[in-house]
């Protein structure tokens, strides 16, 4: 069921909108032109993921000592232990854990943001 969570412009560019939808804590992120909604709970220690950051990360590399930054804007990093999740799929990245975050479909119509829960 779709829920109107407000205007696109109300989502802070450097953070997330946090809200409660039917008893579920939800975080809505705006990354560039994309909008993502996740359950506002880290599966690891139940930290508020909406206070996390969306950035890229260091991709696995076969060469010790070398860094390769990538996935910019696709990695949600928990504000506590820094666990990294793919913000689109909710998967914990690179086999660090089998756990995943709950993600919800989002649509934007006429400047209004709808989260499907």
């Amino acid at each position: 069921m779709e829920h109107n969570v407000g205007r696109l412009d109300d989502i802070p560019a450097d953070g997330a909108l946090t809200l409660d939808i039917g008893g579920r804590p939800i975080g809505v992120f705006k990354v560039g032109t994309e909008v993502y909604a996740v359950r506002n709970l880290c599966p690891h220690k139940r930290a508020p993921l909406a206070r996390g950051t969306v950035e890229g990360t260091m991709l696995p590399t076969p060469c010790a000592g070398e860094y390769r930054y990538g996935m910019d804007g696709q990695v949600l990093k928990c504000p506590w232990h820094g666990w990294e999740f793919d913000i689109k799929t909710g998967k914990c990245l690179f086999g660090v854990s089998d756990s995943r975050i709950r993600t919800y479909p989002v649509s934007v119509r006429d400047g209004q943001v709808y989260v499907d829960i």
Binding site: H44, T57, M58, L59, P60, T61, P62, C63, A64, G65, E66, Y67, R68, H81, G82, W83, E84, F94, G95, V96, S97
Partner: protein, 365 residues
């Protein structure tokens, strides 16, 4: 059951003087001119003679325990039915206390030549962990390539200087060891905390023997963390390391902490594509002595399970030192399959040992 003893210590009588036949005239004069010795740590064990060498291993002609390859085989190899004994010279390890790289490399080479000459020919059960001086890793790599191809040289004893093992300083040594299929053999040098070039203890300087001896595991822990996170096992995928005489009761904690931290800080070390513990279990081994004595016997079995002892633990006696572990009083309760791994198979795999047809009391040249 045949036993492989992964930690036996031979001794060169007379210190540097005893190595003279293996030093050039110029080096003899160099050492003589400065009255050089391989120094003891000032914190001595509170034992008779203030030495860690057991009095009951004194040779029939009154020599220091471990100084006679003929006596050691009857006093130790025959008694325990040892198939192979891995010789590492802790006396040679003291060369890390020397500030001069040329002297250290020269002594390492002389020690190696001494043991090849005086020991390896005596009994086919002797296998050498050849020594290198880490001061100059390029010279050390040359030394490895000089004698490391011998069948009776099965490891590279790397007495550590105060540089963590993940540092590129050591890479020439790893490259040569990997090339020759030799594991790196680590052991306390007995000089830790006493000399500026030796490994420093965490937090400061211990003030008694009991304190410094209790803290040896710190050294292995710090160096394994360094090897792992600097990606040494990614750079040198065939390199293996044996941590001898550092204990292993602390290993479960270390493995779990590594994995836990990797889950949060993986991006710092993106070359580790699997859980850190898997690299340690694949590449690092530990000797059993001095076997930890937990409050309850069953705890030891639990720890063995936690460290995957069927892959990682190698039996060792540490003969002729005061804390020798003998099989008849060590690992009293052990499942048969694990006993076979710990007392034998883990060592044959690590050192690439073939079955020794000559092993047994009748062996010898």
């Amino acid at each position: 059951m045949k036993i492989i003893d992964s930690d036996v210590h031979p001794w060169v009588p007379g210190d540097i003087e005893g190595l003279k036949p293996y030093l050039s005239k110029s080096w003899q004069m160099r050492f003589e001119g400065k009255r050089a010795i391989l120094p003891d740590h000032p914190l001595r064990p509170p034992l008779a003679g203030a030495t860690s060498i057991r009095r009951d291993t004194t040779t029939p002609d009154g020599g220091v325990g471990g100084s006679d390859p003929h006596f050691l085989r009857t006093d130790h190899l025959d008694v325990l039915d040892i198939e192979y004994a891995i010789l590492s010279s802790i006396q040679a390890g003291k060369l890390v206390s020397l500030p001069n790289a040329g002297e250290a490399a020269t002594l390492a080479r002389a020690f190696n030549d001494y043991f090849v000459d005086k020991w390896l020919g005596v009994d086919t059960r002797y296998r050498l962990a050849m020594c290198v001086a880490a001061h100059n890793p390029v010279e050390a790599a040359k030394e490895i390539r000089r004698i490391g191809g011998r069948e009776d040289v099965v490891a590279v004893y790397l007495p550590l200087v105060n540089i963590l093992m993940g540092n590129a300083h050591y890479y020439p040594i790893y490259e040569a060891a990997e090339e020759l299929g030799l594991p790196i053999f680590l052991h306390p040098t007995g000089t830790e905390g006493a000399f500026q070039t030796s490994v420093a203890f965490a937090g400061g300087v211990p003030s008694t023997y009991i304190e410094r001896h209790s803290c040896f595991p710190q050294i292995a822990m710090g160096n394994i963390a360094s090897l792992l996170f600097e990606g040494v096992f990614v750079r040198f995928p065939k390199l293996n390391v044996l941590a001898a005489e550092f204990g292993f009761g602390w290993v479960p904690h270390m493995l779990w902490r590594f994995d836990q931290n990797w889950r949060q800080f993986r991006r710092e070390v993106p070359w580790l594509e699997q859980e850190p513990s898997s690299y340690v279990l694949d590449h690092v081994r530990f000797t059993s002595q001095p076997l930890e004595e937990p409050e309850k016997d069953e705890y030891l079995l639990q720890i063995l399970e936690m460290v995957h002892a069927d892959r990682t633990i190698l039996f060792s006696t540490d003969y002729p030192h005061w804390d020798t572990d003998y099989p008849q009083t060590t690992f009293q309760r052990l499942p048969d399959a694990m006993r076979q791994r710990i007392f034998h198979d883990n060592a044959t795999e690590l050192f690439g040992l073939k079955s020794n047809p000559a092993s047994g009391a009748a062996n010898g040249a």
